[in-house]
Symmetry: D3
Subunit: 323 residues, 6 copies
């Protein structure tokens, strides 16, 4: 494809950004991932939520706020639409009354994306959606994980015997050998825990945890040097829970924990992943009913754009040095 | 029990209404329905919701706004706490990951209330909670129903084969012979439907539907005369879906439909049920994440108080004529 | 004064309504009531509030929303600024730490207005402010009262021995012989009460109460015929508590009660007072911290305009028949 | 076209209503009006606004809330998608920096709709958009108008010499002979005016005005009998300004006036137009920055559905009697 | 008491966090401090507020948001409920119409806590509540103070001669010899002042002030080293005004000042107090009417948990090193 | 003028801050800049906005929140009202229907301020207002610029051929030789761009850009050292776009970009300009319809106070060292 054939966002200097139906990044809406390098996709499912639901409405509002994003990254100079083919392929099917049914529907949808040789960037939905995405992308071999979150999400079960919740996806993914726990790092963890040993299981598998206190002490740069050392060699997945961000910047989420990452830190940290082999990514837990003025959905949309620029930046000319 | 022994709300002329933890009507919190005439109870479950969740947080916010309610009904003169024993017995147990499990847990909880010879007034939760409440209260014989709602909630199934949702409780209740459809009236129905025949099944069973257009044309008084004629002879249940009220007055609900009842109409209509044999009641679909300034929770709390005065008004001196 | 000499609002076809500092009705701000027929005045005091404070911020936000009001009444054709001299004379002094001190400060301020031969239209503030206003205006002889409210505000005392609260002003005013209780009517009363006999004292003094149920049954027109019969012969004061309006239309108030007057009803009812000898008026209990989008302050500003047109309508040509 | 070939909304019993990008009524998004009976279209322009802007964001939020609307009208039984071909054709082009340029762009867009023999139902945008729509639809002969609004919008000019504003479209349309003023009725007019004679010009042209007081006095039914008598013989346009509705039900608008129509009244009144020859319609002045919880956009979407059912109801079997 | 006998929060893996009436940390509600090591207590009083009231509603909303807090501190590993007996003992009595009366009521309530040998952690209420708490706890000898705030609160009087306001408690406490000013440090002070010498009095008594600029320049760690050097030897009180936090993170407060502490900084700073002899603590000025989405109440609840862990951490095994 | 003759803000220890109509800093409202050293002025114009309008309402809400600001700067000790004559001179005239007409009106208004030898501190309005202000102040010689913003605002045109928008003022100002591009620095730039070369034109003219990444890397102090080196020699203008601040701290703006300056950083950076020859300044893009709880207007008001203290600090005793 030449530049002119690749899907392009609506030109905001011709059609104002408040006009038109909202798709991710104002890109064309297409029926499948066929022919795309990256597929932007919503996963409107929050059936795994233990406390306050609402992330099911995340994809629609992230689409809405993504109309504020222009075409070029100010710091790296990457214009993804000049480098790769990317479009909005709509939402994965889900069933609000069946957790396991939804896991299957989502997995099938992402298998098709993989089959089309496209890389997905997904917008949740709660964090349980990462499990079926990994099932679709990583059944053949465990992958690495860079995971931004306030919570480790490696609990075992809730409310009796429920194994599939937004508090358990990474435990399941390790058990199912979708993730290589020694190539896994969780960043920004904080907030009170149910149990003193809540994070022990993950550590015993070899996983690395960097608490917000670690990030504060050693700084974002050193933290990401560690992340690259741990997860960077080989294919990896990036999962960005919006509750990693401080609730003043991302109030629209079900389980806020104060004292979080700033967006500036998180953007810097994501950009440090430039050059790695990212096979897919997600932005989860944007819960519009708790959002204020679309602020959290805008954070989600911007992080999606950072992730898109990372993947696009591996194609063609190297990105500019960070300003 | 004498008046002094009955549970009494905190005295607002001594302890301001903004003080203290919030219980229903500022009544004592007790461990069971033992010794009570009426048990106020929350059912924090919205697993039956087809679109926008949030009613799981309903009981807590209705408790919060109920601190605005004083002890005596201005129009009937009924002071329920002078007539009957009533308290807040907490919330029914629920499991956000299991619809059928929750139905069982809720049923058991309400069976205990029935066993204690108390009448429950429940605050949901989504409308599916009415099904297990009726299973607890009406397994022995079908009861009548006065049902305020924008929706008939007699659909059959959603998203494949899901039979237990907030759009289906009254179909299930009729099938399970908990309700006598000939003693059932639905009031305030409106809003677009999935299907032209959506209300046919209910009608074929003998149920009566009064659309908002009927209420507008014939007035609240005639509507309630019909309701009493249809449902009034014998034990009956009153189910009040807050979306029966116009969304300007009750925005905090998952499925708003414009053109609804005013609160003034609804209060008048409820009061007309004075004297009937109400065996239990609920106020459902208060969804705080969509609420504005607690407005909907205040509507819910006030309707709960109207229902409480109806039940209390059957004991002791007859209530005053309506002013 | 000729028309051209009278204070005029800023011309909205020249200076947009969003421009300029906000005064009442965009009128000039003047230092005293000298030379005015009507003085618009704020009373930023909520020290009499028993539950949720905030009415102290009422005057400022009513000023803000009053910028939406144009110069001519659409139904009566009255342009008050063509008929009388009216301006914004600022706020009465108050002391948030002293109820009785504030009562004195407010009384003095309104005495000056009376001395200047102007009629005040005040914006509160909580309902206690009506007491010092009446002390200033009616010490020489008791006046009549048309009072719109959800609450009778004739309680005796709160929290021990506190006699000056927003729940007691009319009891004090009757005791102090500022009001003639036989020329007093309260309209829109509703909501649960502390006590079955809460309204008995007022009735025993000869006061008339029209509950919201009375208004609903007999209609606004008959209600106002009664009001005129009761209060209309001789000087009278009009007190408009914004909580008389339904909380869906006036959520910004400290003590909302559902099932209230609509604004359409209230406007109609106020207009029926055309021709009576109104010596002063107030709009109270607008509490901006609870308001939504300035909605309640807009109701307050519009009611203030209705009151202004009533007073102006007695001067010059008779107003048009109501459309 | 058979039913199966007509565009159909996404089936909400398969794909939950919170899923997928938002189009009007969840209908397919198509590139032109070719082959359609009715074209749903946004006009994101508020350059004619004299006070508070924001209606430019109206189309996107009405699309968002329209996902709550199901396929069948509950009172008339009309399922428009079974009767006619209707789809979302996107937004008319506009230029936020050029009023007259935008008028031309909008007119061209609607000319194409007319050329395709489709009827437009437009969502604004401010009320100025009605002028270019009428230029596209009615240049060949003046049409009738049923106009719901708080304001007459027949002023002459603002801020000097500006003739094209949201306060002037109907004056321009009469001057340009797009409207037959003797077949024009304005309903719900209220609120203070700039001038006593503000409505005189319209009346002198032969236009009928029904103030909110008229509607209150004579009722919605008689009002619509008049409307049909005045405007019903021949082709007519229906223009629905959301500020005709009371601000408690439609706060998201730039020029709110209290005391307005209820949604229940407005829905009833619109439905009375069944059978008339409606050549196009609009819903304007939904201003999302002032909206509360999407309430006003939901009103807009529902009125759009009422209008759609009116046009669809003329095809095929007559609609059911109103329940 | 053994672990099993100590009051325990409701288990969130059995009862979802949205269920049940809200008590502080979901702990049992008990009638007195008897048998407790720490008493969590509300003080719903804002009668000392000079500008925007609302902190009276603070305790209820902090209880509400505290349901999000789990049982173990993620950084120190402290599970307070395993180490000490702690419960919610309700609210201190207050009188909204009497400042001095309220001071006495509050003092008496806290004397009982002291008598029971429990340490109070109080939630206000405005900052004036710290004065009666100190009167109850420190009449026998002056204590040290670590005070987080945007304001020094050592003014002398307001609005004439009012000596007891939320701007004066620490002046009064020094005058009454409840505080040892040489063991007193105020951290985070900023914002415009009434007077150039506003902070001079405090400094003359020996008090230390660390402006936000000091914290920014020298860092939180050095700041707390100073705090410990100044206040750490001997019994001390910790007073946390939520307006020390930046208004983007804590908008729900009456006197916001931009440029404040981040929650991350404040949490770090509080934790550095581990090991000191804290005799009581408070979190004040949470004003829910100004809050956005419960954000400020969540900050308040989390700071309360940090304080609780500090006190509990002195009992039993030493806390883990900070991660 | 002596101190007593200079305009003084209302004394908040006598008149509470919630009382009275809102002027900038509660200063007197005067008719012209005659006799003033600094004129505080609103410019309610947002006709240059490319996406979301609303800044037209900025001046009124900044006035409102400025009532929270006291008279003395806590860090520098500057009390501007003791040093210079400053007052609120109202709003510049604007025309919402004419961009070029408004540019002329604004320019004339600021010429009068210059003629009176006063320095303006303006509150917008969108960023286009800086162009006519510079035309009034700098036609005789180009001035320097310190510009805080997320966007460079040096684009050429939008939507066809529109050269006067809020994205183009600094390009126009350079072209018109109002600014010396070699004495121009833009700080805080970030967010996606329309084009990779968007900032090239400004750089080619000699302008300096410091991205948010630069500020993060080198710190606020070094950044301001650069700013002073670049812009400090000679007369300069300071333009503060509130979107330079992170949207969590300043959500009320039309074009938010995450990852922005903190208010603490921005205050520090502004203060470093002490001693420079500032000929005027503005705070723009406060858009109240998008604001949350007045938070952004408070940021705007506080930055206005910082700017005022900078100008006042050049007169009389040198300001204190920063604490």
């Amino acid at each position: 494809m030449t530049v002119h054939e690749r899907p392009q966002p609506v030109d905001a200097s011709v059609v104002p950004r408040f006009a038109g139906a909202a798709t991710f990044m104002r890109l064309p809406s297409v029926a499948s991932a066929e022919g795309l390098d990256v597929a932007l996709v919503g996963v409107p499912f929050d059936g795994g939520t233990t406390n306050r639901a609402g992330a099911r409405q995340g994809p629609r509002e992230v689409r809405n706020q993504s109309t504020l994003i222009r075409r070029t990254h100010h710091a790296t100079g990457v214009s993804p639409y000049d480098r790769i083919a990317v479009a909005d392929i709509g939402d994965a099917p889900t069933n609000p009354f069946s957790i396991e049914g939804s896991l299957d529907l989502i997995e099938e949808f992402f298998k098709d994306i993989k089959m089309a040789d496209a890389k997905p960037i997904a917008v949740g939905g709660d964090h349980l959606i990462t499990l079926p995405i990994l099932r679709a992308l990583a059944r053949d071999r465990p992958v690495g994980l860079v995971h931004f979150d306030a919570h480790s999400d490696t609990n075992d079960r809730y409310f009796g015997n429920n194994r599939y919740t937004h508090g358990t996806p990474f435990r399941r993914a390790i058990e199912e050998k979708l993730l290589d726990p020694r190539r896994m790092i969780q960043i920004g963890i904080r907030g009170s825990t149910y149990d003193r040993d809540e994070h022990r299981w993950a550590r015993e598998q070899g996983g690395a945890i960097r608490y917000i206190e670690d990030v504060a002490r050693q700084g974002p740069e050193a933290t990401m040097d560690e992340a690259i050392a741990i997860a960077g060699a080989g294919p990896l997945y990036v999962s960005f829970d919006v509750d990693s961000i401080d609730p003043s910047m991302a109030p629209g989420t079900g389980t806020p924990e104060i004292g979080g990452l700033t967006t500036r830190e998180a953007q810097f940290m994501l950009r440090r992943l430039q050059g790695l082999e990212i096979i897919g990514a997600d932005v989860v837990e944007v819960a519009p009913p708790y959002d204020l003025g679309g602020m959290t959905a805008l954070v989600g949309a911007t992080m999606m754009f950072e992730l898109l620029c990372l993947i696009a930046g591996r194609i063609g000319d190297p990105p500019a040095n960070q300003v």
